[in-house]
């Protein structure tokens, strides 16, 4: 049998699993995970610890199949209340010999389910019926509804416990979950159905799980119109065969009048069950068969969980990289627009002409006079110097382009996500706010562009060094050189050739002359590239909080290594279970 160590490790790995996205297989995956966790806690770990604990036979099946009636008939006491209203049983009732109650009241079997000890003389109706009254009208369960009542009776032998479970198919969905949990804790599943029910789809889903886990199975078909037992038994056996299910026993019970609420013809069922309790080797065989079956089923079930973990991770990765790519695309778009030199149009161009002149007519001297006049005018009128105006215009234009690109990107992300797996649900109600940039982006871009301009100026100051004199003689000043560099950054060729002369009316050509004069051609090339890259880097930083708005919606993903780790540990569990034939008894 498997060691507790690998199972405990698997158990804690399963705790780490989280499915934040809503994908096609998520409901299924989380059900498998929940049931596996429940079964490890309620059954596998405690059962491994105490193989000598009593055999737990869980009576499960459709509502109205007669589970409660059968249990009462078997033990000869009304320990659980049957009823005509569907569904009847909400709180499970476990019946066993008085000496065995300690196993179930205090033991680890059944995990965290609360246990209540009830004296056999107490009226079973009081518990279940009052629960039903409150449960069915308001849809809520009373706080202890999920607890198990433990009743000791003298009519059952030691080593056998019989549990009357809630139904698996009524409108009360809480019943199904509880029933599934109890079936997961069973050493032996007594599947109770009826002539009207045996072909229902829902029970067969449960039977498929029993098949997957090789659970020891007994089948009782109750309430058969007298005379049809053989026909139904044949049909059902055929259905079981086709699905690879081989029950230990199959019982048919004709529907006849009840004697004091008991079914008279349950002797062979009782004989079978008490036989199991008294025949130690047979009992052990069943216990080990179910345990080994459950352990063997672990890899497939963990695979299902790991698949979903991977699906979540890749869906989440796809969503995150989609968002990132949209914003990268926004940066590309801005850069494309910058390189097309369009920032140099209009007012920027006019101001730039004021700095460097039109190039055709003005002599260097005139420019000098012009600058002196500008400074004077600036001092008196408060009008900004032309280079400041150019810088301001470039900044304002750049901000507009960046704002639009970011708004577009956020809308693209929202639209893209709504069509991607898990995306719509991740967006949820917050989608509306995410269709455009956050309010913080505007100021952030402003700061970013300012800082970049400062950085360009710093760069010019450092690089120009002694060459400042050249600039002086060109009478544009250091700031003018800085602006010239920015102009170069915003032009198609980085100011290296005069190709964009046609576009910008000779402006860039002039700035090129100026810059090459100051820095030399190679250094200028580097400077322009450096400034461009710097701008992109800074804008990327400014976009990061925008992207993170989307990343935040994908929070809660388990770590990347979880899926392979789950599979590895599940493999170990199965290997250990299989490699111990002496103990597994099969």
């Amino acid at each position: 049998m498997s060691s507790r160590a690998s199972l405990t490790e698997l158990r804690s790995l399963l705790d780490e699993v989280a499915f934040p996205l809503d994908l096609a297989g998520t409901v299924d995956g989380s059900t498998v995970r929940r049931e596996l966790i429940g079964q490890l806690d309620d059954y596998v770990l405690p059962r491994l610890a105490r193989l000598d604990a009593p055999l737990l036979a869980v009576f499960g099946g459709s509502t109205g199949a007669g589970k409660s009636t059968l249990v009462n008939s078997l033990v000869g006491h009304t320990v659980t209340a049957p009823g005509v209203l569907r569904p009847t049983t909400r709180r499970p009732v476990l019946v066993c010999h008085a000496d065995d109650t300690a196993w179930f009241v205090d033991g680890e079997i059944l995990g965290d389910l609360p246990r209540y000890h009830r004296a056999p003389s107490a009226d079973p109706a009081s518990g279940s019926r009052s629960d039903q009254a409150s449960g069915s009208t308001s849809g809520q369960r009373s706080p202890d509804a999920s607890g198990v009542e433990v009743v000791a009776v003298a009519t059952l032998p030691r080593g056998l416990a019989v549990l009357d479970a809630p139904d698996i198919d009524s409108v009360e969905t809480a019943n199904h979950e509880l029933a599934a949990q109890l079936l997961g804790a069973a050493d032996l599943w007594v599947f109770v159905t009826t002539a009207a029910r045996y072909a229902d789809a829902v029970p067969w889903e449960y039977l498929a799980r029993a098949e997957q886990r090789s659970v020891a199975l007994g089948v009782i078909v109750n309430r058969i119109p007298p005379g049809s037992e053989d026909e139904i038994a044949a049909h059902l056996t055929d259905m079981l065969d086709r699905r690879g299910l081989r029950p230990e026993r199959l019982f048919t019970i004709a529907e006849g009048p009840l004697a004091e609420g008991r079914i008279p013809a349950v002797d062979d069922v009782r004989a079978w069950l008490t036989g199991l309790a008294l025949d130690r080797p047979e009992r052990d065989r069943l216990v080990r068969q179910t345990l080994a079956g459950v352990l063997q089923s672990v890899p497939a079930r963990v695979d299902r969980v790991a698949d979903e973990v991977q699906a979540q991770a890749s869906a989440s990765g796809a969503l995150a990289s989609f968002a990132r790519a949209r914003y990268e695309g926004a940066l590309d778009a801005v850069e494309g627009e910058l390189r097309s030199g369009e920032l140099l149009r209009g007012e920027v161009l006019d101001h730039w002409r004021e700095i460097v002149g039109t190039g055709e007519m003005m002599s260097r001297l005139q420019r000098g006079i012009g600058r002196a006049r500008d400074r004077l005018a600036a001092t008196f009128s408060g009008r900004p110097l032309p280079e400041v105006a150019v810088a301001g215009q470039l900044e304002a234009n750049l901000e507009v382009l960046v704002a639009r690109a970011a708004d577009r990107a956020s809308l693209e992300v929202v639209e893209g996500w709504s069509t991607m797996a898990g995306g719509a649900q991740a967006l949820g109600v917050s989608a509306r706010g995410l269709e455009r940039s956050s309010d913080a982006l505007g100021p952030a871009v402003k700061t970013t562009v300012n800082e970049w301009q400062d950085a360009v100026m710093r760069l010019v100051r450092e690089q120009a060094g002694s060459k400042v004199t050249v600039a002086r003689t060109l009478s544009v000043g250091l700031n003018g050189v800085g602006v010239a560099l920015m102009v170069a950054v915003f032009s198609a060729t980085g100011g290296i050739t005069g190709g964009e002369a046609a576009v910008a009316g000779g402006t860039a050509a002039v700035s090129q002359t100026l810059l090459t004069a100051v820095f030399g051609e190679q250094a200028l090339r580097d400077l322009v590239k450096q400034s461009r890259d710097d701008l992109r880097r800074r804008l990327y930083v400014a976009f990061t909080p925008e992207v993170e708005r989307f990343d935040a919606l994908l929070a809660g993903m388990p770590s990347a290594g979880l899926a392979p780790e789950l599979r590895r540990v599940a493999g170990v569990v199965a290997d250990e279970a299989g490699s111990d034939p002496g103990e597994s008894g099969r």
């Binding site: 209203l85 569907r86 009360e172 009207a196 097309s340 920032l343 209009g346 507009v400």
Partner: protein, 541 residues
């Protein structure tokens, strides 16, 4: 039930609901309107609604004579047993093997071939000696919906769409099944008025048990959303309650209203799914009568201002003034120096086109997006997408229209008369100065080289030679005229700037209204129409 609820929401008036054909047509029209604007953004809703309209038309086309009654329920409930009893013959096999019925059986009271064809029922029977109170009944025995055979469920799901009256046949041991309540009754709650519930195998239950079972089922049905559900306990074996079932069916068949009620419920349900339903949001937002989707006045003004700014209306007005000044100066400036200006670029030539700048594009984009947001307050996502498309998607057209409008404003147009006057004065001054100069030159040549007496050549006036006066007067007049004309040009240019500004703003507003505001208004009008049509389809007026 749905129809009742639909009417309750509409305006309170006593006029009778429109006939079903009209409601069907209204839904068809509504779909067309919605498709025009939503195209592809509706998540398949419009196709579903179209299917409802098609199905309704087909069913209405088959006439009101027949009533399709389906016996539906879980396997083993006794559907076929009841069917056989109602038809008076062993038509559908019953048995203990579950599930028994695999193919739908149809039995008609009177001829119903066309209808059974439409229902695609192959196993047919026509009752020979028909009870005329059941004339027009088409009774269907459906397969189950809860067994392991999935094909049975598909068949039930198909026919559930086509039934006029649902008779749910429920086994007392299965009446609380999730598959029954969650998959059928609750989703079909809008058809609650067309449902009857038969609780079978009454003979297996005691008096008290039967009563409490029926009460419990009724309670669960109410939980599912069925108003006052009718539960009939029945036993085919003992004959108990069968008359009630046949009585119910007779009543419905005789009224010949179930089919129309079914179609109306279909139409109402489809209409409710299509309804943009923002009436409450409207009222909260205090919107004008154009309704949601239209651009509020304030937002429209903001859009015009933002677009005007983006395409550089101020700069263009300044260019208009500068161009005027330039041309005025070229015409009226002092001739000896005014030619220098020709070397400078004309402002109008330096002006960039609005659409050519990605900055302008970006600004317009942002303004259009803000407008779309303002127009789509309280509107569902599909329509928001269309409104955004209608705004931001038309940026290119908008800029193209604007380009045409703004280029014109900078042109000076016909040369004003005062330029000619100024030019004439400048001409006269130039002639005057030239005459003086030539005269002086002649005198200088005569006196200097030819040693002539210059006095007769230079008659004096007020102590100075007349040619000197002429030269001085000519130059002075020229400079003065240039200065005066420059001043006038500046003043007129300023006026032109203001006028150009006003004119261009107006033109921008015109373009924005025709390209953006009006289409949005039209869309809002279509939404109003859509809502009206949907109200008709729901049975309001």
């Amino acid at each position: 039930m749905s129809a009742r609820r639909g009417r309750g929401l509409g305006p309170v008036d006593a006029s009778p609901p429109p006939p079903v054909e009209q409601r069907c047509a209204a839904l068809g029209d509504a779909i067309a309107v919605a498709r025009r604007h939503l195209g592809g953004r509706d998540g398949g809703l419009l196709d579903e609604a179209t299917a409802v309209v098609d199905r309704s038309r087909e069913r209405l086309g088959l006439g009101t004579h027949h009533t399709v009654v389906v016996l539906a329920g879980p396997t083993g409930a006794g559907k076929s047993t009841l069917y056989n009893w109602l038809c008076g013959a062993e038509l559908s096999q019953t048995g203990v093997r579950r599930p028994t019925t695999g193919e739908t059986h149809g039995c008609s009271w009177g001829e119903a071939g066309a209808l059974l064809d439409w229902l695609r029922i192959r196993r047919r029977h026509e009752v020979a000696e028909a009870d005329e109170r059941l004339d027009g009944l088409v009774l269907l025995d459906l397969p189950d919906f809860d067994s392991t055979v999935a094909a049975h469920r598909d068949e039930v799901d198909r026919l559930v769409e086509l039934a006029d009256l649902f008779v749910w046949v429920v086994d007392p041991r299965k009446y609380a099944d999730e598959s029954f309540h969650h998959n059928y009754v609750a989703p079909l709650a809008a058809y609650g008025h067309l449902m009857r519930f038969v609780l079978t195998k009454r003979d297996l239950l005691g008096e008290e048990e039967a009563r409490s079972c029926a009460a419990d089922l009724r309670r669960r049905l109410v939980d599912d959303g069925i108003e006052a559900p009718e539960v009939l306990p029945v036993s085919v074996t003992s004959g108990l309650g069968l008359e009630d079932v046949i009585g119910e069916i007779r009543a419905v068949v005789a009224e010949r209203a179930a089919m129309v009620a079914r179609v109306e419920a279909d139409l109402a349900a489809a209409a409710r799914r299509l309804d943009p339903g923002e009436e409450a949001a409207d009222r909260k937002a205090g919107r004008d009568e154009r309704g949601p989707g239209a651009l509020p006045e304030r937002a429209a003004a903001d859009l015009v201002a933002a677009v005007a700014e983006a395409v550089g209306v101020d700069a263009a007005a300044e260019v208009a003034a500068a161009q005027y000044r330039r041309e005025a100066n070229l015409a009226t400036g002092w001739p000896p120096t005014r030619w220098i200006r020709r070397w400078r670029r004309a402002p109008i030539a330096a002006m960039s086109k609005p659409s050519a700048s990605s900055v302008a594009e970006a600004k317009v984009d942002q303004a259009l997006r803000a407008a779309a947001d303002a127009a789509s307050v309280g509107i569902d996502d599909a329509w928001r997408g269309s409104i955004r498309e209608r705004c931001v998607g038309r940026r290119a057209e908008l800029l193209a229209s604007l380009e045409g409008v703004l280029g014109q404003s900078a042109r000076v147009g016909a040369r004003p008369a005062w330029w000619a006057a100024g030019a004439a004065v400048q001409g006269a001054a130039l002639v005057c100065a030239a005459v003086g100069l030539v005269w002086l030159l002649i005198a200088a040549v005569g006196g200097g080289f030819l040693h002539l007496d210059t006095d007769p050549l230079l008659p004096r006036w007020r102590g100075a030679p007349i040619p000197t006066w002429l030269l001085a007067a000519g130059v002075a007049l020229g400079l003065a005229t240039a200065a005066v004309c420059a001043g006038v040009a500046r003043a007129v240019g300023g006026g032109r700037r203001r006028r150009a500004l006003a004119l261009m703003r107006e033109r921008v507003a015109g373009v924005v209204v025709s390209d953006i505001v009006a289409p949005l208004d039209a869309m809002a009008a279509d939404r109003r129409e859509l809502r009206r049509l949907l109200a008709v389809a729901r049975g309001g007026s």
